[in-house]
Symmetry: C2
Amino acid sequence: MREVAIIGIGQTPVEEHWDKSLRDLAGEAIFKALNDAGRKNIEGLYVGNMMSGMLSKQENLGALIADWVGFKGIEAAKVEAACGSGAAALRMGLMAVGSGLLDCVGVVGVEKMTDGLPNETTAALATASDADYEAAQGVSFVAINALVMRRYMYEYGWKHADFAPFSINAHANAVHNPNARLQEAITEKDYLIARMVADPINLLDASPTGDGAAAVVLVPTETIRNNKKPVIKIIGSGSATDSVAVHARHEPTWLFAAEKSALKAYSQAGLGPQDIDLFEVHDAFSIMSVLSLEACGYAARGQGPRLGLDGEITLHGRIPITTMGGLKARGHPVGATGIYQIVEVIQQLRGEAGENQIDGVKIGMAQNIGGSGSAIITHILKAT
Amino acid sequence: MREVAIIGIGQTPVEEHWDKSLRDLAGEAIFKALNDAGRKNIEGLYVGNMMSGMLSKQENLGALIADWVGFKGIEAAKVEAACGSGAAALRMGLMAVGSGLLDCVGVVGVEKMTDGLPNETTAALATASDADYEAAQGVSFVAINALVMRRYMYEYGWKHADFAPFSINAHANAVHNPNARLQEAITEKDYLIARMVADPINLLDASPTGDGAAAVVLVPTETIRNNKKPVIKIIGSGSATDSVAVHARHEPTWLFAAEKSALKAYSQAGLGPQDIDLFEVHDAFSIMSVLSLEACGYAARGQGPRLGLDGEITLHGRIPITTMGGLKARGHPVGATGIYQIVEVIQQLRGEAGENQIDGVKIGMAQNIGGSGSAIITHILKAT
């Protein structure tokens, strides 16, 4: 396969964009990415999105957005893998360019979640779980994750307060990210007294929904000439799945698909966890950060919270995570999140992360998780 | 890119499968395809589906079905391009294998449309049109196609009866297809007196919805050894889009994306329309058969109905279409249709089409259309 590089990035702020439609948001991110890339055309467009049909009564997003941004006629499709839709669409773009079929591709993640009533959004999110064996029992998506967190605390003896550093770190990093939904620092006390959503997940364990779009432009590395900005290569990509129903998994507190997708990405890149300078984890809930770090080799099983308590996850720690605020504070427009993560890794690798810039970073990883761990895609990027 | 071949096919009957869920149907088609291929494993699974979130409250179909068929851990995702979702998923499989990333991939199209109330299905189908500029005006998906047909009849002077041969041919071919929803022949009189749905589209111009799944297994041609059945190679693949809103197109009666995707496929295959032995068109409505045949080079602009009137589209004609019943009579479970078309082309190329077998066919084409012509994918297959 041809080596593929990302030469353009774009994002909208994550907000309640009541004045912008799905196509407005996607278009804004795509135009920013094209401008950043210094390109005027793309040959294909892959759209990461989960819930446009349910919440905006709009499917067929590929053609809709391709036309809206002025590229009528190009190849386009939507890719869905629940909250992992963004990275799943990126992987399709990678295959399109890597295979040699297309030479310049746009990938956009877009989601619009705040127009409907809250119960509509909750119902749409529940479609990421098993409709027949989970959702039909009345369990919401947050509640499923709460069961996992409760079990994890029981098995390994952690207290709820031990998860505080993940939320505090994400919020601290969002303060300087103009695209973050919650640009506000929180204290441990805030975390401890936050109102409960689904015990033990409280409001500061859970990422906020939001409207937003993020986009990237992909080309074969071999075709890049005199690029103004550092070229960022995709050196590892792995996608893996697990049972959608958490109760059907052998170990509900272990992210089998995260481990498998990370191992594929590490293997392709010829690297291991120790080689990664920063890691955008999928912290939809604080327990997910912990499980993702363990599955990717940063902590022993059951010891993930230690990384937070020891300060290893901050911008100055051993493995900085959620460096621009993560899902927790940047916000989680579900189908867009996987591309926001990629854009943020690239901001760091290019030295464009502003106040949050980590010195000397060369290799970054992003892991996008769909459906409480059932569809997981890991990408490793390298600056050259 | 590596050359890719299809070594296994499977399908369920198109029916009202009230006793089978989405995963049951998809699993049935996948197991049949694996059995047909003589394979026990796949490394990736791409699911073509449009409306599972809206009608079955289930997204995340990739992981769900991968687990259900016993391949927990493999890569999986859902691909959506309205009624073109099936062929869009096939194209993703083609890129996955062609790029060298995966060596054996399953592609399944699945849709379950008959469990809900008819108005729910109509609303779900309308998400293939432009939610803000078409559906919001109250126009249904059938009505949009009726506007196109009305305009076409006005521009080129055709009467409604001139479209009868397309429906009669599809129904005649479905009689011998055990997987077809409507295994019944119709007469010209039946066509003329059928009740109106959206003038000028009557019940026998419109394809029926249905539940069903169809699947294929893809491998690199170079890895095939001693295959028991004829190896079917994908020699052409093209995907293109157009404005979703029909009123935004320069020429509402010309399928720009069909022409563009067919030209890409012809070019890749090094062939032209005269080299195709049979053509599975996307006859969601009879007007779509006409427009597809014109766009792909089988009739001059405005002259498509002539092919029906002259008997050119039958099993013994110059360009046989809908050889197993087409969408009109096999049925149109929307996200599955694109794979049913591929399976049927392969039945013909292998000589497994039973009573409908066309003698000496070597090269077949399938064109899958999403959203009244806004997302169109064309594949050309060749028996070796």
